[in-house]
Each structure stands twice: as C-alpha cells, then as structure tokens.
Symmetry: D3
Subunit: 231 residues, 6 copies
C-alpha cells in the first residue's frame, strides 16, 4: 500500500527575490552561500546558452513512471521550476513536448530532472529550459504514486518545495527559501568585488600579487628553479 | 580461422515507407511500435538539430579495426544508413571525413555507430548525420574480418539488414522491415491524436482531467494535504 | 612537508612550428606521429567549432584546489596553452571567467584540463577555447602546493612543458617538442596524399579498389553470399 | 571565510532499538519504511559477509581532505557509525588503519563513506566494516574545515545525526530517528509474514497463485501462446 | 494497451549437451564458437568461484517492476537458467531470497540479470548462482506486463529461449541451441589442444617459438634494440 | 608502417630493494614518495588478500590484440611484473591461464593491466596476482605490433621499464628506479613513526591532540555548538 502525499499551497520564495537572483550565475550564487547547494554535474542543459530561476516544485517519480509529473502540474504556480527525482536511478524519457506545453500553460519556467527527457528538438525550439541526466526517447507508464511538494534529494542536492532553483550553462544550484534574500545580497557584493579584479587581471596584474599569495606559497614549500635543457 | 561473411543484395524496406517514417520523431515511432527498438542513450548525435531515416546496412567491426566499413560501402544502396557495432567495447575513431565522402557517393544517408568517430568538424560542415558513443581521433587498423549485412546487436538493439533505422535529436530506433508499414500508420494515428491534446493542454486543461486520472490516483493511495509552515 | 617546484623559463617549441601545426587537425597529426599522443576522449570542448595550438604550460593541482593555476600564470609566455591535471580525479570547477581574463592578458591561448571548469557561458562568449572533463560550478580552495612546468600525465597522455598541444573538435593531442618539425612535415604529406583519395572516393571509387584490399580480405577468410529471404 | 560548525551532544536513537534493527537486513528495513532511505548502489562493502547498525555520526569533508574525520572522533559515542560525504565527488583514500584504530577506541562500529578508503587488507583483518565508493591509496590533506553532525546527503540519501544507519552485503539504508521504533515493528511483521511464504514457495507453490496475480495479469493484457518451432 | 505474451513449452537444448558444456569455461566456449555470444562485462557474479550451465528462460521486465519473473517461474523446467533484461536500464533489486527459493523449487539453476539483485548474503549462503549488473536493495513493483520466453537482448547478447547459457567467474556466454553440439565438440578439441601447449609453456618454451611468430613480427615492423642507460 | 621496438636487457632495480619494498603497503610507499605514482583506482585485484612487488616489464598492446605480451615474455627476468597498457581503451581478456603458465616459467611475479583478463578462476587457484580494469572472456588477435620495454602510461601512471611496481589490496604504485632506495628508507621511517601513533590512538588519545590540530581548526573558522532538539 502506497502512502504518497501531495502538499498543496506550499509557500514560495518571493518572486522578486527569485527574479533578482536570476541576474547572477550559478557559480556566483553557489559561492555566495558558502559553496553549498550544487546539483551533480551529470545534470546538463539540453541547449546553450540557457538560464532560469524559479521556485522549486518538487516531484518524486517511480523508475519508468512519470505519473506524478501530471499530478504536479495542478500544484504549479507562475514562476515555478519542476524539480523531479526518480526513487531509483532511471534514464527514461519522463518529459517531452506535450508535458512542456502543459506546464508552460501553468506558468512553469523550466525543468530540472535527474533522469531523461525526450522531444529535445521541440523543447529546444520552444526554448523551454531543461537540465537532465540523459536524453532518451524511452516512454514511461502511469502506475505508481509518489510524493509531490515534499523535500527531496535531486542530483545529490537537498531541495525543499519553494526553495529557489537557479540554473544556467554551468549547472543547477538550490538556495533555501529563508536564505534567499541574504544570498542575493552576498551575490551582488561578490559580483561588485569581481569587477575591479577583472579589470586589474585584464591589464596583466598577476593573481599572485592581487591576492598576495607569494608568502603563503613559500611557507607551504613552493620553490622556483630554472629550466635545464638536458632532459 | 575467421569465418566472416558479407551478405549481398539484402532486401530493403520500401524507400517510400522509410521516407514517410522520417516525418515522425524517434519518440513517436518508438511508442507506435509498443516501446521497442530503442538504441541505448549513449549513442548521441554529433550535431543538432539532426534527422535521418534509412535502411540498415549492418556492419560488425573488430575493436580498433574499421576494415569492414570499407567492405560495407560496396554493399550500399541509396537510402541506406550504416549501423556499425564493435565485437567488443571500443571508442576509437572508426569513421571520418574520407569514409563519409565515400559513403555519400554511394547514397548512404548517415551513420549509427556504438563506437567513436573523428573529423567531426568536417562531418558537421558536410551535414553528414552521425550518432556515436564517443568522439575520438584514435586511428584504426585493417586486419580483422567480420560480418557485413547480418543481424547484429548495436547499442543494445537487435537490428537486421534492411530494417528501418530512424534517428533524431532524441536518439535512434529500429523498425523491423515487416512492421514498417503498420508502424507508419500507427505513428500517424498517434500524432493526429496528440494534436487535439496539445491544444487542450496549451489552454491549461490539466492532464489529470484530460486523461481522467483522479480516481485511479486515489485508489492507488494518493492523498492531498495542505502546507503547514513550520517544518 | 610539500616539495613542490616551479620550473622557470622552460624551452618552448618554435612558435612558427606551433602555428603551422595548427593548420592540421588532431586526427591528422595523431596519425602523422604514429598514432601516439592522444588525450582520453573524456576531455571535450566547451563549444564547437573550436581549435587551438600552443606550447604546453603544465600544471599539477590538488583535488579541489586551483592555487597552482594562479602560480602558473606568471610563467606564461605568449602562445602557451595551459595543461592542467589534478593529482587525483576531481571534477570541480577549477577555472572560470576571472582566470581566463588573467591568462589571456599573458598571451595564453587556451586550456586543457582533466577536471572541471565553470562560467562556460562567459568563456564561450570570450571564445576562450577549453577542453575539460566536466562543467561544474563547484569552487576550489587555495591551500596545497604542487608542481608547475614539470612533465605530467593529463588525460592519460604524457606531456612535458614546451611540447606542442593541438586541440580541436575531435579532442587533444600532444606533439613532443623535438619531433614537432618532422611531425609537421609528415602531417602536410599526409594531407596532400588525402586530397587525391578524397576526389576519387567522391567520384564513387571504392576503398576496396583504391586500397587494393580484395585479395587480403579473401586470404583472411571473408566470403560473399547472396541474401535469401526466409529468415 | 569558512563557517563550519561541529554540533555536540546530538541526540541518538535508543541503542536497544538500533541493535534490534540489526537483526533485519537492509532490504527488509527499506521495505518496512516504504522503500525509502537507501544509499546509492555505488557504496559497496570492502568484505563480505558484513553487517552493522549504529547511530549516524555525520561528517562533511572537502575533496582530498580528511581533517573533519579527525574532528568527528571526539564527538563519537559508543554505537555510532561514521557517515562521511565529500562536498564534491572524490575517490581519495580518506580513511585507513590508523583512523580505524582511533575510532574503534571510541566505540565507533563502522564507516559509510561516499569516497575512497585504503589499508583495506588491514581493515578486513580487523573486521572493521566499511562501505565505500572506491578503494584508493591516495592520501588526503588537512586544510579545510567543514561541518560535523549536521544533516547531510550521502550516496544520495538524506541523513541526520542520530538517525539509524543499517548496512549489510546489499548496501546501506538510513532510518529516521523518530521512525526507528515503528520501522522496527514493521520489519518484524514483514519478516514473520515472509516465513510462511518462503515455506510455501519452497514446496513449489507458484507466486502467481500465492499472490493471486493471474486475473490482474490478464487484465493488463498478458496472453499465453504455445511455442512453434520454426523460428 | 500492452501486448505481452508468454510462450509456453519452448524447446530446450538437450540437457546432456548442456551439462557437457558445463565442463568447459566461458572463455573456451566463447572461442569455440568463433568469439561470439559474450554478455557485457558489467554482469558480474555475486560470489566466486561460481559456475552454471542451463537452458535460457528469457524474461523481459519493466524498469523497477519484477512482475514477469513471477510469471516466468511457471514456465520453468529443471535445468533452466533465468535470463532477465529490463526494457530500459535499471539497477533495482529485482530478485532476492524469496524468488530464489521459489525458482529452486522448480529446478532453476541460476540467474543472469542485466539489473540488480538483493539478499546477496542469503543467495550466497544458498549457493544460488547469480550474475548481475548491481547489488541494490531497492524494491520493485508488480504493475507492467512484458514478454516471457521470447528472444531478448541481455547484456548486449542476443538470447533465444532454450539456447544454452553458460556462466562462470569470467562472465556469461550464450550458445545457440542448434549449435550446442558442435560447439561442445569444438570446445573439447580446443581444450585437448591446450593441454600440450600448457605443458610446453610451463617448461619455459616461448610462445614466440611455439606459435612461430618471429617472422610475422619482423614483417610487421617489429625491431629489437639494446637498452642504453642514459635516458 | 609500424615502427615498434623491443628494448632488450633493460636495467632493473636491485631485486633486494624490490623485495624490501614489498614489506610495505601501497599506501605507505605512495606517501613515502610524496604522494606520487598511484595507478587509477579502476585497476582492481582479481582476488584478495594479494601482494606483489617487482620490476616493471612494460608492454603496449593494440586494442583487442595481445600479441606483444607474447613478445614480452622473452624479455622477462625473474622478479619482473608485467605492466600492460592498451593504446586505446579496451576491456578485452588479454591474458589467461596459458599466458600465466608461460610467464611464471620465466620468473614473472604478477600482472598489472589497464584492460581485461580471463580465466580468473584458474589464475586465482594458481595464486598468480593480477590487477585489471575488467574481467572479460573476450578473446584477442595477434596482428599489430607495439612497443615493449619503453616508458608507458598505464592507469594514468608514468612507468619506465625497470621501475619498481608494488601492488596490494589497495591498488598499484610505481617507484622510479633511481628513487627506490630512498623511498624504501622513508617507508621504513614512516612505518616506525606510525607504530607509536597507533598505540596512542588505540588507547583513545584523540588525533586532535596527537596532531595538535585544535588551534589551526579554530583559525580556519571551525566552531562548536550544542545540539538543540527541535529541528
């Protein structure tokens, strides 16, 4: 007997915060929150360049069974991103053009799935952003129930409904809802700080000097020798 | 002592049926024939978007040895697609610009290979469609014979010479020759059926209602609860 | 106690030889030097088409630690390509937009790394050529010293500082410094030889005849039979 | 600036419940809690047969850096099992004979690590149970701090300090602390239920009859035909 | 609508031939039939040493769904070996102690599965031979029908019901039913031939001489030089 | 035209040094030489416990072609260990019982191969130590020449003929010939140093104190907090 549950009306992160986070890249946001929240690198975008930010609408699915994605659509609110995880590893094509058409009609901005998708030519033409583990035409059944809008592990990251999911060419990161505003501030600060560095580096200043690394390098045992030809 | 054979004048699927199947995607055709015939997802296209349909010209090759591809060219008929499988796993670059030039001259439409290819910049410029396991410049020798135009397993799929091979951005599927016409009909029926669904989903109708899923979901034990903040 | 060393003023291959090699593809050069020097196929370009040739500036890095790349920048000379290998397998994002800005200012032409990179949207926009094992936003620390400009194994290839590294859509190959000129000559000879073949193959001449393969095939036991329908 | 924390005096599951759970296998307990809590199959035991149950002592480690395992030892209580996860994928040998000697002295019963271990000959002789992603002699540094006794994701499973970790030849499962007693009861019930089934199956009764599957199979479209020789 | 079928009373290979093949190893039989029929090396035994030969009882299963194994038991005849393939890649634990108890009662000698198994401690104690892709406790459902006793691709090998499956520490090989007797003869001849070679090699005779390789090596361009110290 | 060479009478490391190194484990020796020389963790022993040390007899082989192993036997001297690397990735069974019989007759102590082996039941019974990438019965041909006793990259490690290869349950490490004596001394020193530590750790002394880590941990930002129940 399954005991699966759909949690309705989950609290989301304020959409203005979500949209503001979308101004930054995944690498920046990941750094700004102490290098946490990254999804595994096996989740790759189906086209490039690509970018999305939204509130996580979390979905568990059985292997080879995409029924719960259909269930999840009803729970969608504008600004959501579907975050789908199979209950055991699977690379089947859980999601294609029809489902994309459906979720777009409900304001869903994109899909992050630790499994496969299909119809990627159509999804690319629609510019519907997807990060997936595989591209695979294999169809799925609708027989097993599982949870929707509960905390999940997807691509090795712990994601709660309503957390912010940000994804770009580099991959996917999750920002916990209650930290979204402070991460936003720190992302902005980090980027401001990088502007100056970028200019100095572009002029040829060495990171060794910019970051004052030489003394620490010597302490750790780095030494310099000159090249001698006869190898 | 090797006992390899080349089968000449293999019967092909009628080219008009092949070309008609090319109107549909791999996902559709795979569904239309009962979710069978897909190649493993490790076979990826070298560029996108991409599409081909043709009659399978099957080739076995020894690991690190592309001799039999040269042998296969002589057996090619316009509308064929090369389907190449190594007798043990190998990712060497079995196929490049010269072989592509040669097979195009004999009417070959594309290549599906559970191994590697090279010269992919040139192949892309030629728009010669290729699905491969890897891109690898490693050269191959010409020392071992193997079978041409016999039934093979390629990418986990069982393929007989003259079966239809259809491939697009989603991957590769094989349609048995004797089923090609009926699969074509069912693909058309399936696509027609999807047009109406797509429109209704685009207007926001839920799959839950369109497919009448609610009762079965309840029977399987799915329940709904409202979100409570303090997790 | 670490005992890491930076070798200064390493001898490079003459830049005119390097640039001349860039006229040829990785597959051609790999063949021209006896099918040696290829990097593993897991090193893939971050965009396509892509091409670079340069003198190897070799860098060892600890897992999750990109400190030595900063050290290496000071050793760069115009025409160098960074070749970076982790001392144990790692897919973290060792290199991004800031480092790219820095190395470009010092004349570095590209990066080959058997680990991960990030900011690939920006790197693509800059057209800074990169071959990497993964794309991953994971940040790295600056705590452990390692060697710069010593012989390394990267992607399974043995690379010495100042060797030529050539990379394109097919992958990466290293040419030992002392063989660069002769490999250049043989690459040119090989390509000249292929022009005639390409033309004959394009006209439909079979490789079987062009390469006189039929007798050897028969000796190795290949036979021909005609197709009989009733499988 | 790192902001790592060690949480002291974490509440554990009652050790009598932990020990009672050890009477059951991982497969049984996983089923008894609704098929949740399994670690990825890449975590394999270093010897067999093998079995352990304990309270999770959770440890984050930087790639190539085992410092936090040393920190964790001080937090150990008898009956704990170390659960170690790297902050990015790493297969280095984080744990060997010396650390095993140390943790055994503090009552630690075993190790689950989504990374590598070394000295496995000695660990096997000590009969110190370990489940790891790899066996690799690669040494680690002690430079980066990370969290100890906070909730982590290890092998794709979400684990909180003080949860029960059960592991055997089949792999690893986590039981949330607050559910440990009820899972224990359900495990016992499940096993009792299986005894009768096992006897009937051993006598040759078919699962088809024991589980009354025939009608449902027919409804789903399964049919029977007799073999005809001429394939 | 599923259209799955169970084929009853499939013809088997004569059991005396099957048992005689069991005298030989997988490597020998694979060679004796022209280096064909090997399953992929990812199928590994759950204990060692191990050996089985039997008639293939073929089973297709949906991902995460072991229903058809229950269906297959009814079709078993003494001397059969279950050969199970998922319709898309899956590593769930399709088979454990209860199913082993059941199939043993029906004369099944072992299991080859391109997916996962569980209860491996119990299976090992029962000495029930299993070759699988993974060990994973993940449970499976019983919702989707698929074919039993039809030709399948398992581990990349094409297997028809009633073919001989032979498996040992080296892996798994299939022998087509109609070739079983001749393969048996050739296996015996091959092994007889090796006895003499083994004795001569054990006495120190070189393979270079035993197989008369020196001339061919020279023709292919192998040369000998003496070591010079100063590399 | 191949240009392969066999180097005869390569200088070896003094066998007494080799044998003395065999007293230490791979992990210890790897540490003693500055954490260098490890082979990739994909090279696993075919049985356990296992141990060997010897002088590297290096062999390149073409994919699917074991000819050069036969050539190498003639170059063997008592105390050698075969180190075999394919020129492109291959998992075929290059080595089995007959070759083992032959090399043992020439004093070869074991095999390290970045490819596959077969007859592992027999090799295990003979207690012939092997570390390989795979176990696979796939046979190989004898058609392509390659180099013997030249420097190679095997499993990502750079190995020269006559270097010491040490392998145990943890994997494989190479010690450069000219460093063998000093690495031996440092290994002994390292092990002596560990004896005292092991005793203190066994008595419950914390690594935090034994290694005086507390101050550095605090400086790096580690803090301690007490557990609060209500998560």
């Amino acid at each position: 007997m399954s005991m699966a549950v759909v949690v309705r009306n989950v609290a989301r992160t304020d959409i203005s915060v979500v949209d503001a986070l979308a101004e930054f890249g995944v690498a920046t946001v990941h750094e700004a929150q102490g290098r946490t929240g990254l999804f595994a690198s096996r989740l790759r975008p189906i086209y490039r360049p690509i970018k999305v930010a939204g509130n996580a609408l979390t979905v568990e699915v059985a292997p080879g069974d995409n029924w719960m994605i259909h269930v999840a659509v009803e729970q969608a609110k504008p600004g959501d991103v579907l975050v789908v995880t199979p209950t055991s590893p699977c690379e089947d094509g859980y999601f294609g053009e029809l489902l994309a058409t459906s979720v777009v009609a409900h304001g869903v901005r994109g899909l992050v799935i630790d499994a496969g998708v299909r119809d990627v030519a159509a999804l690319t033409e629609m510019r519907f952003p997807v990060w997936s583990r595989s591209v695979f035409a294999q169809g799925t059944v609708k027989e097993s129930v599982a949870n929707v809008q509960v905390p999940i592990v997807c691509g090795g990251a712990y994601v709660r409904p309503g957390d912010v999911v940000l994804a770009d060419d580099d991959g996917v990161v999750v920002v916990p809802r209650e930290q979204a505003e402070s991460v936003l501030e720190r992302s902005a600060a980090r980027e401001a700080n990088e502007t100056d560095k970028r200019e100095r580096l572009a002029k040829g200043e060495l990171g060794l000097d910019l970051y004052s690394m030489r003394e620490k390098l010597a302490q750790r045992g780095l030494s310099y020798v000159d090249f001698v030809e006869d190898r």
